[in-house]
């Protein structure tokens, strides 16, 4: 995959499959520490300890259509290539926390990519789920919370095409503003 935002979408799709009602996505870019941190946190069904130990193994999956699951193993591989690492914490019935770290200066680091499209895709995937997205770039911070959006929408569905179009533009503009150096 060519963008971090696609890895994030993939991990968050796992959260949806796990029945999450709330997903928190956090991007933390700290230039002074040369560190990019990606966090996906959910309140899905969580994993058994036994499964958790082998979750980064590409031959581990819950899916029935095929025997390999590549998402998390790719994520870990990329993080390690970029001088960082990935870890996962999960409790059965409570939720799962995935965290990846990357050196910003690493030549192997791929672009963050189209985060707005990732968030819109998640909203389409399940408009009931609440998504909190936080991006921190050094001193600057931008927060996006579907709970807040739904309050304003007051009965109009968040999945209406006109709303999604506006949300995408809103996210794009605000992200650009935060990411500007």
């Amino acid at each position: 995959m060519k963008e971090l935002s696609l890895y994030i979408l993939d991990i968050a799709q796992n959260s949806l499959k796990a029945g999450a009602k709330n997903i928190k996505i956090e991007l933390d870019i700290d230039h002074s520490k040369d560190l990019l941190t990606v966090i996906v946190d959910d309140d899905g069904c969580g994993m058994e300890k036994e499964f958790l130990q082998k979750v980064f193994d590409p031959f581990t999956t819950t899916r029935k259509e095929r025997k390999v699951g590549l998402g998390l193993s790719f994520f870990k591989e990329l993080a390690q290539q970029c001088g960082g690492d990935a870890k996962i914490e999960s409790k059965k019935g409570i939720g799962t926390h995935v965290e990846g770290t990357f050196k910003i200066s690493s030549v192997d680091l791929i672009p963050i990519g189209d985060i707005p499209s990732t968030i819109i895709s998640l909203i389409i995937s399940d408009s009931e789920v609440e998504i909190l997205f936080v991006i921190k770039v050094d001193e600057k911070i931008f927060k996006f919370d579907t709970v807040e959006i739904k309050k304003v929408l007051d009965g109009v569905k968040i999945s209406e095409p006109s709303v999604l179009k506006w949300l995408r533009e809103y996210l794009t503009e605000n992200l650009k503003c935060v990411m500007e150096v």
Binding site: L6, R63, W166, Y170
Partner: protein, 121 residues
């Protein structure tokens, strides 16, 4: 710069449109969004479908995601369900194809047979 306050305007406009329309057709479009689908380019396909529906002011079509159905080499895959008709599965869809599927199949009612799974089976 866009702010949340602007959303209120979108809400009012959308509400008017929603009141005007009746859910007459119940058309459903699904995009495969498992790891295989995402890696093959499902996300831009979904964005293109949304954009095309938006441009044409079509609001009564449901766009949704689906998981992996075990035919990863044919991803990105898009299903179009029209009530009373058989489901049509498109394979190896890209942004351009996605837009044409919306125009030809969803709007005009003519499935594009060359791009469907039945063409390879």
């Amino acid at each position: 710069m866009k702010s949340i306050e602007e959303l209120e305007k979108i809400r009012r406009e959308t509400l008017e449109k929603v009141n005007l329309r009746k859910d007459r057709n119940g058309i459903r479009i699904t995009v495969g969004m498992a790891t295989c689908g995402i890696a093959a380019g499902a996300r831009p396909v979904m964005m293109a479908i949304l954009d095309e529906l938006g441009k044409r002011n079509i609001t009564d079509v449901v766009v949704a995601e689906t998981g992996c159905i075990g035919m990863c080499k044919y991803e990105p895959m898009v299903d179009v369900y029209i009530p009373g008709q058989e489901k049509v599965t498109y394979i190896k869809v890209d942004e351009n194809k996605a837009r044409q599927i919306v125009a030809e199949h969803v709007v005009n009612g003519h499935p594009i047979k060359e791009w469907t799974i039945s063409n390879v089976e």
